[in-house]
């Protein structure tokens, strides 16, 4: 069904919503606002008469302010978390104004990453709403001389049904503000049946602004007296300037200055990369000036990085024993038994995040204080990074978060904010740093290139009796510890160690791989290569056994049960940072998404061969369970069409189903795009791609004709939704290509195989 909305009503609401604090912060920034914003405790929520938490305040006029401390990069979180608080408050949504928090540790973790905003803050936002509701009810009950338990609430009112009395929330605020703040354990939260907003579809808060060009992203931030900077960075990581001639650059009309930026001290963390900045009256003049710079570089040791030979290095690494990261049973004995084995090695290249909005930041540094406006996933990391770069206290750094034109992990690494801060300090005036697309692609924190090797000893029915899994990838740890070569628990615990299969003997090993470019987390992180490899391998095992991949998967998963992590050799499983008691590993849920996806996709009647086929894959990641079924048509010319993708997710309790569907649709497109033609390569330590003509990401012509998303209804704790939709899409696609053509794709991208 296509949904229709009462659009005229939406436009009535627009007038109320149009002046968010965010807009004020980024668009005009009058001096008074800026000073106010610098002090902690100065949101409208804080200034409200009743505000028991930092997330929500209410005033005697009934107006509610809800603070979102997580960043909006397209998931809808800026709308979804306030929905949770508004629901527990029983607020009238039209009375709610959403404010974006500055970076401040009083909000708790602000790193909008790891698909954990709802997971980590669902309870906090329920409390933020329920505590105020409870205080308003107590105030009304006292006024009426009735028991609080005899009162109910609805739509911004406390109601005493028995006597027919009602009082608007605003009229109770003053009295309620004198009452003690209830303890979480004394509050009664709504039941699922009482929810008004949670689990419903609601337009994202910024929708009207986005559609009319008024939404403010980091690249749109502007402060008075600002100059524009474009930076030529060392083309090889760790390179330094040998010589610089900036005379021609300075002659370009509109150019005001040229400044060098300091090189970083390893580890590179989120430090500025160094280089030469051209400062100008507008972006174009800065770009023109930059083209006139004459720089020679000392490249340093990373100039030896060649992705072509590095690929072989990774293949060699996984052909040898590595560090054991998970073990159960006796894999070696099974391997020595002489039974038949099947093995395969898979490869996924580097990728760039390529957010549509390239990195950008405005900084105003004066008198030992720094104020930053930027599209960042983690404003507290901006405080840390800028404080370290300038040698000023963390508390002297104020970071305003704008909307993000995409994040995918890139914008939790605020090197661009450090650049703006250093330049603003040096120039003594506000500076905006804008990255070009070329900068963005060449100086990313790249998704790690990886090789993954699987080897199985085959028993009855083609079922593995023993399984050896190895992977090698330059680890994210290399960004934080110079020279790190082994993956962290979180990386191997994304699809290498936590294979859900009921195989008695299993060992996972991580093999060393040094980093020569900056490595960072990218949407779904290590799941991308680990899930691609494992789900391809299971498909290979099914094919070797002559069994239906669905039936084989279900057999391998075993009966519905909670995985005994200890028995599985996963006693130390990181579990996406949450307790395994609250978020167990549930094989039943994994089976269910697979079964539902297969049924919705029409698996039993699927086309097989003659260029048409269907593939499936399943994974648990970020505590959510997702199965993907991809249908392909492969032309004789190698053209790959995707008529339909089926995505089924069980993410426990879902706050905003419509945005969850959007995430799963987007993940389908991104997965297909990653698989098709995209790859980042390096030669001489320099990244060889530069813009969308050579780093090819999915266009509308690559998108599936249809993406069918199904959300499993569940009362379980909320899980992640931004990332889990991506990992299974890629192996489901390559498995479908196998079904269609008999060609097994073990290395991405498809374009390497004459497919695209």
């Amino acid at each position: 069904m296509i949904r229709t909305r009462n659009v005229s009503r939406r436009f009535v609401l627009k007038g109320i919503f149009a002046t968010g604090a965010l807009v004020v912060a980024a668009r005009v920034v009058p001096g008074a606002f800026r000073l106010a914003a610098q002090a902690a405790g100065q949101t409208n929520a804080d200034r409200s008469l009743l505000h028991p938490t930092v997330y929500l305040g209410i005033n005697p006029d009934g107006r509610v302010f809800i603070v979102t401390h997580r960043s909006e990069m397209g998931t809808g979180i800026r709308t979804a978390l306030p929905m949770v608080a508004a629901d527990e408050l029983d607020a009238d949504w039209s009375q709610v104004t959403i404010e974006q928090a500055i970076g401040d540790e009083r909000y708790g973790d602000q790193n909008t990453d790891g698909s954990k905003s709802i997971r980590d803050f669902y309870d906090a936002f329920r409390y933020a709403g329920a505590s105020v509701r409870s205080m308003l009810v107590s105030a009304a009950a006292a006024q009426w001389g009735v028991a609080p338990e005899s009162c109910t609430t609805a739509a911004h009112e406390v109601i005493h049904e028995a006597s027919g009395r009602r009082a608007g929330y605003g009229s109770l605020v003053e009295a309620a503000s004198k009452l003690p703040v209830p303890r979480p354990e004394d509050l009664r939260f709504k039941t699922r049946q009482q929810w008004k907003y949670i689990g419903t579809d609601r337009p994202i808060y910024d929708l009207d602004d986005i559609l009319t060009g008024r939404a403010i992203y980091g690249i749109d931030a502007r402060v008075d007296g600002m100059v524009y900077a474009s930076i030529e960075r060392p083309p090889v990581l760790g390179g330094t300037i040998r010589s610089l001639d900036d005379a021609a650059a300075r002659r370009v009309a509109g150019v005001e200055d040229v400044r060098t930026l300091p090189s970083f001290t390893p580890p590179h963390l989120f430090q500025a990369l160094g280089g030469v900045a051209v400062i100008a009256r507008n972006t174009w003049a800065a770009l023109q000036g930059r083209r006139q710079l004459q720089i020679t570089w000392d490249d340093g040791p990373n100039a030896a990085y060649e992705t072509e030979s590095y690929r072989q290095q990774l293949f060699d690494a996984v052909s040898r024993p590595g560090k054991v990261v998970c073990t159960r049973g006796d894999v070696d004995a099974a391997l020595a038994s002489g039974s038949r084995t099947i093995e395969a090695t898979y490869y996924v290249p580097h990728h760039a995040h390529a957010t549509m909005e390239p990195p950008a930041a405005v900084a105003d540094v004066r008198d030992g204080r720094a104020e930053i406006w930027a599209p960042v996933q983690n404003p507290q990391a901006v405080q840390d990074t800028v404080s370290a770069a300038l040698g000023i206290p963390r508390g002297n750094v104020v970071c305003h978060v704008t909307l993000l034109g995409g994040g995918f992990g890139r914008k939790s690494k605020p090197d661009f904010a450090a650049e703006a801060a250093i330049l603003s300090r040096d120039l003594g005036r506000p500076v905006k740093v804008v990255w070009t697309r070329e900068d963005d692609i060449r100086f990313d924190y790249f998704h790690a290139v990886a090789a993954v090797h699987h080897k199985a000893v085959i028993g009855d029915g083609g079922r593995p009796t023993a399984w050896l899994a190895r992977s090698a990838f330059p680890p994210i740890a290399s960004t934080f510890t110079a020279g790190a070569e082994y993956g962290g628990d979180f990386e191997v615990g994304m699809g290498l160690t936590d294979l859900p299969y009921d195989v008695p003997n299993f060992r996972a090993e991580n093999c060393p791989a040094p980093a020569h470019v900056r490595i960072g987390w990218f949407r779904s992180v290590a799941n991308i290569y680990h899930v691609f490899a494992a789900q391809s391998f299971v498909d290979e095992l099914a094919a070797a056994a002559g069994r239906d991949p669905l039936e084989f998967q279900l057999d391998l998963l075993g009966p519905p049960r909670l995985l005994d992590l200890k028995a599985a050799g996963l006693a130390d499983f990181w579990n996406y940072g949450v307790s395994s008691e609250t978020y167990p590993y549930d094989i039943g849920r994994l089976r269910r998404v697979l079964e539902v996806a297969a049924e919705r996709a029409g698996w039993s009647g699927r086309p097989q061969g003659n260029g048409r086929g269907m593939g499936l894959a399943v994974a648990r990641s970020f505590t959510a369970y997702v199965a993907s079924v991809v249908e392909v048509e492969v032309g004789t010319d190698g053209a790959v069409r995707v008529p339909r993708v089926t995505q089924v997710i069980d993410a426990g309790t879902v706050v905003h189903p419509e945005r969850v569907r959007a995430q799963l649709e987007g993940a389908a497109v991104m997965g297909i795009g990653l698989a098709r033609s995209a790859e980042i390569t390096a030669a001489g330590g320099r990244i060889q791609q530069s813009n969308f003509h050579d780093f090819v990401i999915a266009r509308i012509t690559d998108a599936p004709t249809q993406v069918d998303v199904h959300i499993i209804e569940s009362d379980e704790k909320p899980g992640g939704v931004g990332e889990p939709g991506l990992p299974p899409v890629i192996p489901a696609l390559t498995n479908a290509i196998y079904a269609a053509t008999g060609r097994r794709i073990r290395e991405l991208p498809l374009s390497k195989h004459g497919l695209a």
Partner: protein, 166 residues
């Protein structure tokens, strides 16, 4: 050098170099930030505007080449944000991060002006120059069909976004 530009029905005089792309004139000089920068080389469509109703990539359109053409940006597509495409975009909750969407809508508006009843193939051809990293393409197709009336709300759509809840 001074240029007189007609932007969304208003006249502006700007003093900028002849080769300065219209994108940066709009964004940095006229403070019209709805038109976005994505690639600077006509690869992504984020900067799409209309010149006398024809779609153009502002990032590769030198200000000197504009002449007396009427420039329309997202801010001027409709006075109150109720262009049928804006309404359809809203009904279908198209945007995720939203950054590409001004360009998408401007390209779609140019398509509908020429081809009021586009097929899926027409849509793909007209929109292939607009990248959305968030992957909203299926909804873009849907919203264009809806705005064009090639489907009506409630009809089964050529591109269906299935209701996911039971």
């Amino acid at each position: 050098m001074p240029y007189t530009l007609n932007v969304n029905g208003q006249t502006h005089t700007v003093d900028v170099p002849a080769d300065m792309p219209l994108l940066w004139v709009l964004r940095d000089v006229l403070d019209l930030k709805g038109t976005k920068f994505g690639c600077g080389m006509a690869q992504c469509g984020a900067c799409t505007i209309h010149l006398d109703g024809e779609p153009a990539r502002a990032c590769v359109t030198p200000v000197a080449a504009v002449g007396s053409a009427r420039i329309t940006t997202i801010e001027g597509l409709s006075p109150d944000g109720t262009h049928p495409l804006q309404v359809a975009w809203m009904n279908n909750d198209v945007p995720q991060c939203g950054y590409c969407q001004a360009g998408q809508i401007m390209s779609a508006a140019a398509l509908l002006a020429k081809t009021p009843q586009p097929t899926d193939a027409d849509i793909d051809a007209a929109m292939a120059g607009n990248i959305c990293r968030c992957g909203t393409y299926m909804r873009i197709r849907q919203a264009i069909h809806e705005a064009a009336g090639t489907i009506r709300a409630g009809d089964s759509a050529p591109v269906q976004i299935t209701e996911a809840r039971d």
